[in-house]
Chain length 370, copies 2
DNA sequence: CTGAAAGCGCTTACAG
DNA sequence: CTGAAAGCGCTTACAG
């Protein structure tokens, strides 16, 4: 039995209810002028009485671009991405947009499928933390149809799209320099996902800091995070073990901390560690983690802001603002690097122990939707 | 300038391209039989050539129930809900459903708005972690239109809906009994959100355990989580401070741990703590946290399974399976309760230190979608 | 096996 | 200010 029982009320039902034309109802619903106050009131009443709600599908079919944006992230269970997604939804909602949020699971095929879903829903624009370069072809297709696209966190080349990223190279460089200032000469760079430019930039920042100090870069870069812990352990148990570790993202950091804890290795005495990407529980860890904080929420907000402005400026409108934003990182000094409350070293303008939250939610001038 | 530049190809474009009727294309797209193999091949080719993708809006408008389910959670930044949401999306995707995921921000008005959005999109069914009893009226409205509804984690009465929850009372009771077994006589129950039946059940489990032991229940239940930390601190500094704390959810746990760390209070010696809800970093904390683990992912999976079965069985089909599922919790013993690797107490069948992951992803027999 | 016709609920011109 | 007509892209009967 098909679903069609009571049936949602339609614009025709409302029109009949209060004896006006369908057009008049449509005008009232959409807040158009040119309707007499008396009718507006009658229509409003009928709408309330019937519980009428415009059918989104019909609107889209008529060529309205729906107030929906798409967001694709690799993984919702990762706090970095969920924080980011949360910020996107919040800001989008503030401007009257719904966010269609999908997780690609770091899987090329799923990402492709999700882009098809987004396309078939005529979304107004898309925000994506891309997982595989193969997505570029589909995104180009959307761009060809004038759908705005903004990549965040990491990017792939070959696309006329917006980009919101963070200072991966400088952030990492400062962190590694900090380890050097603590006297470390043998610092191992640990991570995976080197195919992303974000990670590549961090690696490059690490290299520069090591070169600046006249030290030899050492890497433990694997294909994916499985087995990362045991690989690190083997290095630590080798003849010439590193005295400090730099973890390229929060998953790598967690993997490492698990091994260190299990093997009862003392941080920072036996081995120091700094991770890229801070997280809420970092100060409560056995050894409070020193980390390069990325503004996850601000990343989401900036990208959303850029996308919405682009959408509003119209497909062919001149783009008023730049489509490139690079957000600063902040070094959060705790204990795992070797600093103590009594003795913090190498602090300068770029590095801070403050945990001041990011600034106001929406600092730009941008007409709000009530 | 409206968007209509190259324009997505339509079914008519495909039909023209290969010289057949629109119906034939539709049949091919939908995998209906009754089309000659030769035409199927030609149509497929034309679809690929044009990059045709069926317009979802048009399908919905024709009365097709879209393969989309709605999911409303209070907060995506909370790892419990993001894990749950992640599991829902995964399982839904496996069966060919897209998940429209929205966060209510624990706000009645937003929740109401999001339900309207879901309704206007004709979703096939809805999964909700309700935030305010006011949502029941809207959900009833959906039920009246035969849209399946499943509440998870907590429920409100007055609705013909599915319910997937966890053993809040028993889980809490076991945890508090464990604290009693450690010799604690003064155990403070800390939390907020008492309006939810999940929290009320935990409170009730706490009371029962205290009564069983002949102890007097003591509460610190506040309106919302702000200021919870300082309130706890004041209690700990009072004339007769509690020697143990039971935190009613993970946010309460975190707030408490922050204060304890700041004030340098030793756990478990000065005060022991057990929290309801486990999380990934719990074993890496300064004092590894003993917690009542909720199967967050399984919660999402069970609810999704229930919803999809309901959707497939048809609006009026007899419901083959129960619409009530209560998932067991598991006590994860670490250090914050007072146990040590050398001395664990009171372990029995219900309580375990195992951290075995939940079972297979989809144990039920349920036709898959390739 | 195949296609022309009608209509889902809305909005965009077009005439009053 | 207002409404009847046409059509967005699809699918459901209905006739071949």
């Amino acid at each position: 039995m098909p679903r069609k029982l009571p049936g949602n009320p339609t614009i025709a039902d409302v029109a009949r209810e209060c004896g006006v034309g369908a057009m008049t109802v449509s005008r009232v619903v959409n807040g158009r002028k040119l309707v007499s106050a008396a009718k507006v009131a009658r229509v409003r009443e009928a709408i309330a009485k019937l519980g009428y709600e415009p059918n989104e599908a019909a609107r889209i079919l008529k060529g309205q671009v729906p107030r929906t944006i798409g967001l694709i992230v690799p993984d919702l269970a990762d706090p970095f991405f969920s924080t980011c997604a949360h910020a996107v939804q919040r800001m989008a909602a503030k401007y009257g947009y719904t966010t269609l949020l999908l997780a690609s699971e770091r899987n090329r095929a799923r990402e492709a499928k999700e882009l098809v879903i987004m396309k078939s829903r005529n979304i107004a624009g898309i925000l994506i933390v891309p997982t595989d370069a193969a997505c570029i072809a589909q995104l180009q297709d959307m761009r060809a149809r004038d759908v705005p696209v903004v990549m965040l966190d990491r990017t792939f080349p070959g696309l006329d799209a917006g980009e919101v990223t963070v200072e991966n190279e400088e952030g990492t460089r400062g962190a590694v320099r900090h380890l050097v200032e603590h006297g470390h000469r043998s610092i191992l760079c640990v991570g995976y996902d080197r195919q992303f430019n974000s990670i590549a930039q961090r690696i490059s920042g690490y290299k520069r800091a090591m070169n600046d100090a006249g030290l030899k870069p050492q890497f433990l870069i694997v294909e994916d995070d499985s087995g990362l812990g045991s690989r690190v352990l083997r290095r630590l148990q080798s003849a010439k073990p590193p005295t400090a570790l730099f973890a390229l993202n929060n998953v790598a950091t967690t993997r490492i901390l698990h091994v260190l804890q299990r093997e009862n290795l003392q941080v920072p005495d036996e081995v120091a560690i700094i991770g890229f990407d801070d997280f809420e529980l970092a100060p409560l860890l056995a050894v409070p983690l020193t980390a390069v904080r990325q503004p996850a929420a601000e990343l989401g907000r900036s990208a959303t802001r850029m996308l919405l402005q682009w959408i509003r400026s119209g497909a062919s409108g001149t783009r008023s603002s730049s489509l490139q934003v690079v957000l600063p990182t902040e070094m959060i000094i705790r204990r795992s690097c070797g600093c103590t409350p009594e003795r913090k070293i190498g602090l300068d303008g770029r590095q801070s122990i403050s945990s001041a939250p990011a600034s106001a939610e929406d600092p730009i001038a941008f007409p709000n939707v009530s």
